[in-house]
């Protein structure tokens, strides 16, 4: 109850009339130690966010943190002074919207909104909805996601408009591996290759887990690489939990853009990466740590650029 009051005041006093923004932060040359520091801080943000509201999805968020850091702090040409149409910018869409904690923490750390707003995640009246939404006008989000399978189609539409507008920037989209069970993904995959949507870089968070258990046991994806290749995509593979490999993986994908085929990254990650007891199990897909578990997680994730 006390916590609720604290947030209520927080909204009234801090967010009613002003939105202080963090200073934007990018790197033209990748500084791997610095990017790793940011990733550690963002992982810290994630566990603190889901702990505070006792809900949310830490597992996939932690697994994808390195990807988000590599993208937003090095590869993506973006402007934290958010504009929905983003002409002359790269675009990013999150299709597996349940890993919103990592996206929100990244957006805040990249200067889209003040990092303190992360404390409002999933609380009443927040802009940081459980799943990403445009309804509350959170800077950085361009479409709602959460109901799975839809983000790739949206990204393809946005990429085709980039071409119509003669804008050479790229469109990125992240999907889950369990999400590959949705039929719409394959409608979109077929369409993008047929129409040579080659300004698009899709990535699959290939962590092998979904809510009910290992993907292989729920409904196997069989040879996912061969599937995408047979649909007409260029497929790359890299480890999503080593910063240099993520940086290089996305670099390679970018170099293959504008060559007649859409590009897919099969990015191997470990769910819960960075918090030992959360790693490698579907158990932490959508469960928040208790006080004791939080302390244990934070001990493994030292504060680097400062807590919110």
């Amino acid at each position: 109850m006390q916590r609720f009051r604290k947030f209520k005041n927080y909204f009234i006093h801090k967010y009613k009339n002003q939105y202080l923004r963090a200073k934007p932060f990018y790197m033209s040359q990748p500084d791997i130690p610095q990017l790793n520091k940011l990733a550690t801080q963002i992982r810290r943000d994630i566990v603190r966010m889901v702990h505070a509201c006792q809900s949310g999805h830490p597992g996939g968020s932690l697994g994808c943190t390195d990807f988000f850091v590599a993208l937003y702090f090095h590869h993506l040409q973006h402007n934290p002074k958010f504009n929905m149409d983003a002409k002359g910018e790269d675009l990013f869409f999150l299709s597996n919207g349940h890993i919103s904690p990592v996206w929100y923490a990244t957006l805040a750390r990249a200067g889209y909104f003040e990092v303190n707003e992360l404390a409002t995640f999933r609380f009443l009246n927040t802009r940081l909805q459980g799943h990403p939404a445009t309804h509350e006008h959170l800077p950085g989000v361009r479409v709602a996601s959460g109901s799975l399978g839809q983000g790739l189609s949206v990204a393809i539409g946005a990429a085709q408009v980039k071409k119509l507008n003669q804008d050479n920037h790229l469109v990125y989209v992240l999907m889950g591996d369990g999400e590959q069970q949705e039929g719409q993904i394959w409608e979109a995959a077929m369409y993008a290759a047929h129409n040579k949507v080659d300004n698009l870089i899709a990535t699959i968070d290939y962590n092998g887990q979904q809510i009910d258990g290992p993907v292989e046991k729920i409904v196997s994806l069989q040879n996912l690489k061969a599937k995408w290749e047979s649909f007409g995509w260029t497929v790359l593979e890299f480890n999503g939990n080593a910063m240099d490999e993520v940086i290089n993986g996305i670099s390679l994908a970018k170099s293959l853009a504008h060559k007649g085929k859409p590009v897919l990254n099969l990015m191997k990650t470990e769910m819960g990466f960075g918090v030992d007891y959360m790693m490698g199990s579907h158990k932490w897909h959508g469960v928040a740590p208790n006080d004791e578990e939080l302390a244990k997680a934070l001990a493994q994730l030292p504060e680097t650029v400062g807590d919110y």
């Binding site: 149409d85 479409v143 709602a144 189609s153 949206v154 393809i156 539409g157 085709q160 119509l164 369409y191």
Partner: protein, 319 residues
């Protein structure tokens, strides 16, 4: 007031095709997507004129809705085209999340709605689409009555901002409104002035209501006919003004009795001006194969059914 007559029959989908072509000429941000029904939706002219702004999606309606949502980012105004069944029921969650909840400026244009689709039968004759679409927060729902109004509605949507659903049909249908008749989204169109009963009709049923009105006039019953072409936002003011005068009403729609125009009007009357109301609609049943006229008769949507409903509601009227 003008007596409505017609000299030709034209399908409302052709009105959509003509309107889309005109929009394409006047606004270079208008783009069109179609799921393998270009001919049926009368989108060929747009496709031919603006090949760069036409997107053939194939038989993949879920993907089409997502693409359309994405195309709004960067300033385009996407018009999607497929049958009403595949424009709504098949892709409800895609519309709900990627378009409606995301507040995207997508125009969902749906042909072959209702029983008048005819011989293809119940799999394609959607009678639930108005209900599904009007329930979505922020969704505008438009059901024009003939070729001219469908064209005007399509053109009006080019200037409208926000998600919208435009419903039209397959069969040749009387063209009884003038090409220059004003069309304003959200503003009910009074077709015939009357004093004994109000008939609120939408889509193809506006013509049925006008035919019924003429026969009622022969029995000295003065019916007011109001075309509710915009189901949402509903013109509450016009509905109340008319019923306050006539004291009773009938609604007519080519839709299930649940969830359509009748429901919307009933809600307004129950809340603001309780008055007897009868609903002419499909009574909680699926359709079947047949000609449009046969089906309208069998499922209770012929002008005689409108007259029966008027007789019934007049008996309930408190004088």
């Amino acid at each position: 007031m003008t007596k409505f007559t017609f000299t030709e029959k034209k399908d409302t989908r052709s009105g959509f095709g003509a309107g889309l072509l005109e929009l394409g000429k006047s606004n270079s941000d208008v783009v069109a997507l179609c799921a393998d029904l270009t001919g049926s939706l009368k989108m060929d002219a747009f496709k031919k004129e603006f090949p760069d702004r036409f997107f053939q999606v194939g038989i993949a309606e879920a993907n089409m809705m997502g693409l359309a949502a994405g195309m709004t980012i960067g300033g385009k105004i996407p018009f999607t085209g497929t049958f009403a069944n595949f424009s709504t029921g098949r892709v409800y969650d895609q519309i709900r999340q990627s378009i409606a909840y995301s507040g995207k400026n997508v125009k969902i244009c749906a042909s072959h709605a209702g029983l008048t689709l005819g011989e293809d039968g119940a799999t394609h004759q959607i009678l639930e689409d108005i209900g599904m679409m009007k329930m979505l927060p922020g969704m505008t729902v438009i059901v024009p009555c003939d070729y001219n109004q469908t064209k005007a509605a399509t053109i009006a949507l080019g200037k409208h901002v926000g998600p919208a659903y435009l419903r039209f049909g397959r069969p040749g249908w009387p063209v009884f409104t003038a090409a220059d008749r004003p069309f304003i989204i959200g503003k009910a169109d009074k077709m015939v002035e009357g004093k004994d009963v109000t008939i609120f009709a939408t889509g193809h049923m506006v013509w049925q209501a006008i035919e019924a009105e003429a026969k009622l006039a022969e029995q000295s019953i003065s019916a007011e006919v109001i075309n509710i072409h915009t189901i949402k936002p509903l013109d509450v003011e016009a509905i109340l003004a008319s019923v306050q005068k006539t004291k009773c009403a009938v609604t007519c729609e080519e839709h299930q009795i649940n969830g359509g125009l009748g429901d919307s009007v009933a809600q307004v009357l129950a809340r603001f001006y309780p008055a007897p109301l009868e609903l002419v609609a499909v009574n909680d049943s699926f359709g079947e194969s047949g000609t449009p006229t046969q089906l309208l008769k069998k499922y209770g949507l012929a002008p005689e059914d409108v007259i029966k409903a008027v007789d019934k509601v007049l008996k309930r009227k408190v004088v």
